[in-house]
């Protein structure tokens, strides 16, 4: 099928297109040079913004933990439900929508690629079942490998190459996309009711420190030539004073970067940019982190912006979730995933009038605005930890309009307002920069070659928003901007129009992307490993890997490793 998008203002940062009026031609799901103008179906995007489909680098949309969150929170569902239409299925949930609703809501906003960032390898099958049930969007998942026993042992013994082969096998076995590290060492310690304090604190029972885990896996990542860097949720997340840990974490892999390529992605950085000794002296550490990132080129990060709403926090960071439970006194669940990782869920309400919450809100925006290069910081809310992804249009307006920020600043806690750096920041992101922080930058950081841009050969994933940058000033008309991003006029996925006027037209399946990492020598599946599976896992080794036919639409990317 051929499609031609005419007259739109195109924002395609990877190809350097900044708001030029041009046509986009699509054939067989790919962007092409031109199509037969008479035969092609035409979309008139006159006076509208045309961008590549949105890419989300970090959003918890599937897996055991997300589903446990759904079970934990019936009250989250009963006020937000969608009934079925002739094309879409019904669904419920505000902060943790059901799989179908997740896909539809992303598509309605013009997002077409979403990464689920935390997949315990043991629950890989569950995660992929849910991902297969998430329509429209393409997705992938990062296996949690930072506290995986075998990795810890290989790194302790200094066997980097064997570790790399093992990680390659794990990524293939779990059909994962990148190496996710959550609170390195801390989750293993949490199995014994403990945590690690800083990146040089030894992990109990393993003679290794978080620093060695991060550096080791960073080297592994390089040996395997993985498209994304290591994806790190730092130690001490959510604790006052943790910005030092974040700086140390970034610093510890600086020497492992080459040719200016990033070597580490710090995720939901807002939660790791806290200054102060306790909650009373709590303040923003965004400036220090931004200064570091502005002077170094080996880091990318995402915001983890906080939205003032009732949401559900869920991370693999069990000890952090326990702390959050003791702080909030709300219900919680906690889970120790055998030898791999842990998880916790606590419902949470971010309140404007709360000093800490309001400061957190400010930190996220300070980071995004103080870091000068938009290719280094991406927009996320760490869905659903900072707020549901449906709040992205709101975050976009805060980034693009000083007036929108001031409107919210007026309503927040006065102490937080007086300490916030936001009033001193004049920067307003342009639509071009928004296209970077919501799509192009994320696709580039993820190494997705066919996503996040509109060059010839790219996947025809396109979002069209009804906002005329020639006649409207996003800084002043921020409400119109928010409306435009809330409901994309058109979302095109793989060359098919799936959303029109904010309504889903078609229920199409999205692909699951995974890495087929090819090592010169297969990882040794020793008898010892199988024996350990028998002794320590509830799942037999034979049932452990996820086979390719398990994915509804499998889209492997072949990666040639150096080992």
């Amino acid at each position: 099928m051929e499609l031609l998008i005419k007259n739109g203002f195109v924002y395609d940062p990877i190809n350097g297109v900044n708001g030029e009026k041009m046509d986009i031609a699509i054939k067989d799901g790919k962007i092409v040079e031109k199509v037969n103008e008479r035969r092609a179906k035409k979309i008139d995007a006159f006076g509208m913004v045309v961008m590549p489909g949105g890419v989300d680098i970090h959003s918890h949309i599937a897996g055991g933990k997300v589903n446990a969150g759904r079970l934990l929170r019936p009250e989250d569902h009963f006020k937000d439900f969608e009934r079925k239409t002739t094309v879409t299925r019904s669904g419920v949930g505000y902060s943790i929508p059901s799989t179908f609703t997740t896909g539809y809501r992303y598509a309605r906003m013009g997002w077409t690629t979403v990464m689920d960032p935390a997949m315990p390898p043991l629950e890989a099958k569950h995660t992929h079942e849910e991902l297969s049930d998430t329509p429209i969007i393409d997705k992938a998942s990062y296996p949690l490998l930072g506290d995986w026993w075998f990795v810890l042992e290989y790194l302790r013994d200094g066997k980097i190459e064997e570790c790399a082969r093992h990680v390659a096998w794990m990524i293939k076995a779990t059909k994962g996309y990148a190496i996710k590290i959550v609170n390195p060492g801390g989750l293993e310690a949490w199995g014994f009711g403990r945590n690690v304090e800083n990146i040089d604190d030894p992990v109990p029972n393993f003679d290794i420190t978080p620093r060695e885990i991060i550096r080791g896996l960073c080297k592994v990542n390089k040996l395997l030539n993985l498209p994304h860097t290591i994806h790190v949720h730092t130690n001490n997340l959510g604790r006052p004073g943790n910005y030092i840990t974040t700086l140390e974490t970034m610093d510890c892999v600086e020497d492992l970067a080459d040719d200016g390529k990033p070597s580490i992605h710090i995720t939901h950085c807002q939660f790791n940019a806290f200054k102060g000794d306790d909650w009373r002296t709590f303040e923003s550490g965004a400036e220090d982190i931004a200064n570091y990132v502005n002077t170094h080129s080996h880091v990318t990060m995402d915001m983890g912006q906080v939205i003032f709403t009732d949401t559900t926090t869920m991370t693999a960071d069990g000890p952090f979730q326990y702390m959050l439970y003791t702080l909030s006194g709300k219900k919680w669940t906690n889970h120790d995933v055998e030898t791999e990782t842990s998880a916790g869920i606590v419902p949470f309400s971010y309140k404007r009038k709360n000093y800490v919450h309001a400061t957190q809100w400010s930190i996220g925006l300070e980071l995004a605005l103080l870091i000068k290069d938009p290719w280094k910081i991406f927009m996320t809310t760490d869905h659903p930890n900072g707020g549901p992804f449906t709040a992205y249009p709101r975050v976009i307006t805060w980034l693009m309009s000083r007036k929108a920020r001031e409107a919210t600043l007026k309503k927040i806690n006065p102490k937080a307002r007086s300490r916030s750096l936001l009033p001193s920041i004049d920067r307003e992101l342009s639509l071009y920069e928004i296209a970077i922080v919501t799509r192009a930058g994320q696709a580039k950081a993820l190494g997705l070659k066919n996503k996040g841009h509109l060059g010839v050969g790219a996947d025809a994933d396109i979002a069209i928003y009804n906002f005329n940058p020639e006649t409207m000033d996003p800084s002043k008309k921020y409400k119109a901007l928010r409306r435009a991003f809330k409901r994309a006029t058109f979302t095109i996925k793989g060359g098919r129009v799936v959303v029109k006027g904010g309504e889903v037209l078609k229920h199409v399946e999205g692909a699951t992307v995974w890495l087929d990492v090819q090592t010169s020598e297969e990882a040794k599946i020793t008898e010892d490993m199988k024996r350990r599976f028998k002794e320590y896992w509830t799942v037999e080794f034979e049932n452990y890997p996820v086979s390719e036919d398990y994915l509804a639409i499998s889209q492997p990317i072949t990666v040639k490793a150096d080992v």
Binding site: L72, R73, P74, E75, F78, K331
Partner: protein, 275 residues
């Protein structure tokens, strides 16, 4: 404005009709009221498809709006949800979620009511002349924000978990109550004139529960504080005892007060030795 609703048939499917609300009716004429949308099972219907509607007087202030439902509406849910003023009278049985999250006004039911009557209500009054089922004034499943204010009066009996997660307000039951009355309550008053099921006040942190009848046992996590001759139920109403006063629930470091009638519960006299 006076509106009379007559069910056109015996309902067999659940109906969701939060549009039966004095404020919504107030600004509309008969034709518009008939066009209000409701759900019958999985089909969207108009209110006029299910009820015969008679509007007798148009105008007046919103608090003078009275809606009378004549007939059995036990399959109709969310009647009066979120109402702020006016009055709803149900001459028959009412369905689940009656007056959910209501802020003011009055609902009177001359019949029985199903679960979650006055769920999460913040103000106003609900008067039930029959029995009420489980979860009177309790929040929706999973939610920890119960009744925040207002008053629920039940002349019959109530089911389990009446006043769960209650934050304020009053629940008066002139009949018996099921198990777990005042589960996890924090503030407010629950008065049960007759017998109460076991585990009254489980995990309560504050507030007051008065049991005027028999209770099989008091949870072991409550301690006896003393004997009181009478206890105030609300402004201008006191219950005369004598009552045993228990404090708890200690597993939650609670300071809730549980008053149990001394005369009706001689088997609890062994507690007196701790006084």
């Amino acid at each position: 404005m006076i509106v009379n609703l007559y069910p056109l048939k015996e309902f067999r499917l659940p109906i969701v009709a939060e549009c039966i609300n004095p404020e919504i009716f107030q600004i509309k004429g008969q034709k518009e009221i008939e066009k209000l949308e409701v759900w019958e099972g999985n089909k969207q219907k108009r209110l006029g498809d299910l009820f015969k509607i008679e509007v007798t007087k148009v105008g007046d202030a919103p608090d003078a709006t009275v809606i009378t439902i004549n007939g059995d509406v036990s399959r109709v849910r969310r009647v009066g949800a979120g109402m702020k003023s006016g009055e709803i009278i149900v001459k028959g049985d009412a369905g689940m979620h009656l007056g959910e999250e209501m802020l003011g006004g009055k609902i009177t039911v001359y019949g029985n009511v199903l679960g979650w009557a006055g769920s999460m209500m913040k103000g106003g009054t609900i008067e039930i002349h029959g029995n009420a089922s489980d979860y009177v004034g309790a929040p929706y499943r999973g939610c920890s924000e119960g009744m925040h204010g207002g008053k629920i009066i039940v002349y019959g009996s109530v089911g389990n978990e009446a006043g769960a997660y209650m934050r304020n307000g009053t629940i008066k039951v002139y009949g018996c109550a099921g198990q777990f009355a005042g589960l996890r309550m924090r503030e407010g008053t629950i008065y049960i004139q007759k017998d109460a099921g076991t585990r009254a006040g489980a995990c309560m942190k504050g507030g007051k529960i008065v049991v005027g009848g028999y209770i099989e046992s008091v949870l072991p996590s409550f301690t006896i504080e003393g004997i009181r001759e009478k206890v105030r139920v609300e402004e201008g109403e006191t219950a005369t005892g004598p009552f045993y006063l228990f404090l708890g629930d200690l597993v939650e470091h609670g300071e809730g007060k549980l008053y149990i009638s001394k005369d009706k519960n001689p088997h609890l006299s062994s507690y007196e030795k701790f006084l």
